[in-house]
């Protein structure tokens, strides 16, 4: 239950304040050039502490490949990647050892397992997403060879919505903002929340270009369903939309149907997916993140002994998880698409004939 994917399988391990986090990526086809610098650069994009918009915690997040790569190429065997934890301050968490932080998984892990690594959320920490980004980076390398690009950016923060979708700008922006004009207001909302010892939510838009028609497996491994699973499984995600999403529900069928022409679709309300299968258009997914539950205002909770308590958190936390969440959304989308690319192989007899031609 710590694995994701069917043919490209990411398994992650590790706790926020244990010796290391990491992942196994199984199913990478042999012969893929593994650009380690690219993998590290993706981790660097997710790495905390790059700006005042993020937690002050500093982690080097150096990734080390333990297997599956030989002379620069994947060999078809599992790729193990490890990131040693170097900046854990476990003492920061002594004060939460015996209480359940609202909005966090403290209470539910305790209920489920009867034991929990309370240091920084342990396994439930967003730190685990570094392993997803490492795996997602390899998926991006696979997709690139097929001419597919996955990109993401901030669509909305604290209700301030982007009017333009400039993915190139998002790459340069410390907020990963899609709209350079909304960016300033979005930044201010984040900083104001931080100032007020509070936090804000946000929305990430993720896009894939170049996906051929035919990816996605009906009826229970549909492309949209698995994207929804992938995104909703990211820490703090509370809603997922495909294409026009919620907005589609308020249109008439005659407005929402994307007319088809010999040159392609005239609109893309569907987000590039029909019947759970890619239609060749851009894949578009929005992931809605709640405000960071770690805030520094006084909160009400109970202790592990069940007593009422009022307390204030200490430590270092992102005022808006959606910002760094952007890179995680990209990683998850890349993993889903690479998995679907592999799953689709063999769906027609002609694939078998083409590969096993005698």
């Amino acid at each position: 239950m710590n694995s994701f994917g069917r043919r490209l399988i990411l398994s992650t391990f590790g706790e926020s304040h244990g010796p290391a986090i990491g992942c196994l990526l199984d199913g990478v086809p042999a012969g893929l050039e593994i650009d380690e610098a690219f993998i590290q650069s993706e981790l660097d994009r997710r790495r905390p502490g790059k700006s005042p918009l993020e937690t002050g915690r500093k982690e080097a997040d150096r990734v080390e490949i333990l297997s599956g790569v030989f002379e620069g190429k994947s060999t078809g065997t599992p790729i193990a990647m490890v990131i040693y934890n170097t900046n854990q301050k476990s003492r920061d968490y002594e004060n939460v050892k015996k209480l359940f932080r609202p909005g966090h998984a403290d209470f539910t892990y305790w209920q489920k397992y009867g034991i929990r690594d309370y240091r920084g959320g342990g396994r439930s920490s967003a730190r685990e997403t570094a392993a997803r980004v490492a795996g997602g980076a390899v998926a991006k390398l696979m997709l690139r060879e097929l001419g597919i690009e996955v990109e993401g950016g901030i669509y909305e923060i604290d209700g301030i919505r982007a009017n333009r979708l400039d993915f190139a700008h998002a790459r340069r922006s410390r907020l990963n903002a899609l709209d350079p004009e909304a960016e300033m207001a979005q930044e201010e909302a984040v900083l104001a929340a931080k100032e007020a010892h509070d936090s804000v939510g946000g929305v990430v838009l993720t896009r894939a270009k170049g996906v051929p028609a035919g990816w996605g497996e009906p009826l229970y491994y549909k492309l949209d369903a698995i994207l929804a699973e992938a995104m909703m499984g990211i820490n703090a995600a509370k809603a997922v939309e495909i294409g026009s999403g919620c907005e589609s529900s308020r249109l008439k069928g005659s407005e929402n149907n994307d007319p088809i022409t010999p040159e392609g679709f005239l609109s893309n309300h569907s987000g590039g997916i029909l019947g759970g299968i890619s239609d060749g258009d851009e894949i578009l997914v929005k992931t809605w993140f709640k405000p960071t539950p770690s805030i520094f205002r006084e909160q009400q909770s109970v202790t592990t002994e069940g007593e009422s308590i009022r307390f204030s958190l200490k430590g270092r936390h992102d005022p808006c998880v959606a910002i760094r969440g952007t890179i995680v959304c990209e990683a998850m989308m890349a993993l889903v698409l690479a998995d679907m690319a592999l799953l689709n192989l063999g769906r027609k007899m002609e694939h078998l004939h083409s590969i096993y031609r005698r």
Copy 2:
């Protein structure tokens, strides 16, 4: 890829206009009383043609159990259920044989498989959801023995939102409406769209009461992620929200965190799920459906030979898929929860001691 769940596994088969549809449900614990009348009554709730709000197509949808039940109880072996198709009018589909209906899976199945059963959408038809409802009914029987109730209703249609959540009313309403006061306007929207040969979208709210804390498997089989997958995988779903969902993204952390008291949570923005695990509160999920793609206005598309075409559909279709989708949402939630109940067994050593006590 036609199976859903890990320990309670629903596999479905069948095409809209083939001889039958049906399902296998594997993993049902032995000793469950199988109330066949209840299963049939769930199918009856989903059955088309009950009111002018629905398609005029009539299907008896009689379910027949072929295995897994002996003397009224489950035996632990797979339960096979079959529903024979009795009211297929394949000739209705001759006119769409050679074209791709916008908003449907026609184009993508063709791209993926190079062959398609064009009669009524074949496998991609919403008719398949009858098999989900049959499986979901058994899941509901399991959950009931554990004191858990799953209910659903219409939250919004064509932008007209419920202000009250009256699940008992929804059971009596032909619209499955949660809010008796919004119901009239919602019905009118549906009928107006039908009149205009068009269709409308809607939102279903699904709720589970009585779920104990501790269900859901981190990190890649989280309860919210799998609910998202389950709901997004239903035909025409385009967005899924957990708890306050999108709205959470626009709150501050101090507003969105649910304070914890010895008596429970003071609010339920989380929708009963923290860190992917149930927290003991009500589970709340919203599923946003697009307007039915089958409309009777003229539309633009291409033929299987790639030529541009303008055409109008004929046949019988629901003007709003969310209405009957309500029962499907309930079924999917029940399947997810029953699966999670089974998956959670063995997550503590004390479960093993309790069952294998020597």
Copy 3:
């Protein structure tokens, strides 16, 4: 847990004396010609009552396809096949209702589930293998298109071993005997056991020709490991050998290693598998079946209330399960190989380039 395979997935259902048995076969590539007569002919080969060497029970074993085939071809959706039970004599089993037959699964099902369908073994009956044969027949059709033939025959019965391997003879033989010269003695052993109200064991040799090198997934879905699982999972199987099997353990390395030449291997002790992956040579598997546990001599057992009992079985049973087991072994090998053919797709980047060439 009633499914077999990863990409070509056979799920079976049904009890010996319930309304029907059947299977779902998911993952069949679209565009395969589905020769229904061939599927039926495979079932006919397994069907009981064809000779005095088999049980006198008569079952028509007519297979009906409910889905997944359109205009004679697979569509890529699950193929459901049903075989209605027509010759159940449940009253034959009234006398075993309250006792556990030695060598059967009666005792263990009771322990596991606390309930059992005692009629003819219920789910644990070898009747279920008809569903495997139906699924295996489709797998054979897939393999044939790739130039692969799977065949089987009786290698040994009651210790009488074949000295020749004549698969063509086995097809004509009512014993499925590989060696026409050993056949008479083998038949006599079966009939003598039947006469004595007893039963004998036997060994089936299964062979696949034409399998390309490269099939099988290290390290935990190896071709030999999965063949072992497939064969050991057949009712009454107690041992599985790959290639020279047990005999290899008594050779020196210098004798057992198969020398490699530009034209191929000089011997085939390996049974066509090295490191869990096919090497291009013939795949050879031996499956050892125990004597039928259903015998008509007096036996000692306990009742469901735990009391000691001596009893004699009545009914109709095969004196040697290996005979009809031959067709089941073929089916399982075909399912494994077709699954491996699909799994191997995507193990090299060049597969992806070849299919998704832009």
Copy 4:
């Protein structure tokens, strides 16, 4: 495809001459005491170079736990274990870089992946089994809490069979010999083969005591079928027997059926498994290993360019893989049983009532 198990899932990674090998073990229930010294002691039992009967290669095989354990107990999250490779002599393998060693996976990996890590067999090296032993050690800890012991020993070497089964002796013996009287002859056979630059095969008997009736999942995850898969998947295994195995095929039904009494079974031909489910008796499995393919005599093969070649291997190799294979067989049996213990939870409604009692 580098994972084993359904609820207790072992995923391994690493190549013989890469930086490290290791495993993830997912599904360990929370609250299990993790005795690290025991895990290391199991690795020490498998470690090479302990006697002249084994390869002279020396590996410290120090295991490091990276996650899933907190304050000495499992937390329910994945346990990652790493073993760094310290004694790789890659230059030993320069001479085999361009040829395929007979009896090895060199040829098949090349065919499958088009690339291979030729150093010491890379991923296909038996070195990977250290990761299995680490995972198996944790499974043994789980089983011990349930009163189950898994043991193994050498049953036969070079055709010299044990007449006594003394598992306590096997623990003290450097050959892991079950029979102290056969041991001397078995050792001599190994040393003679070594002297002759050749190798011998052998058979390992593995036994589990204390397994309750009811473990094993019909019909496609049977206990015997999965044990067969587990054992056949170990490097160099060529046959697997359950209970009396091959011998059962030569008995009459009246001899082979194990009579049942209120006190238990009067014999154990079945090896403790009926219908794929444990019957409460001892589980007995024999695994037949071929002679080590790495021999130092001249052999015939082809180069990666397809040219004929005669060559002699250099390096350090076990003259009989069955010896150290004993610990691997134990590990695999422990993993299978612990997985089955978890899978069986929830097979009766009363399990759910017992755990979720309200």
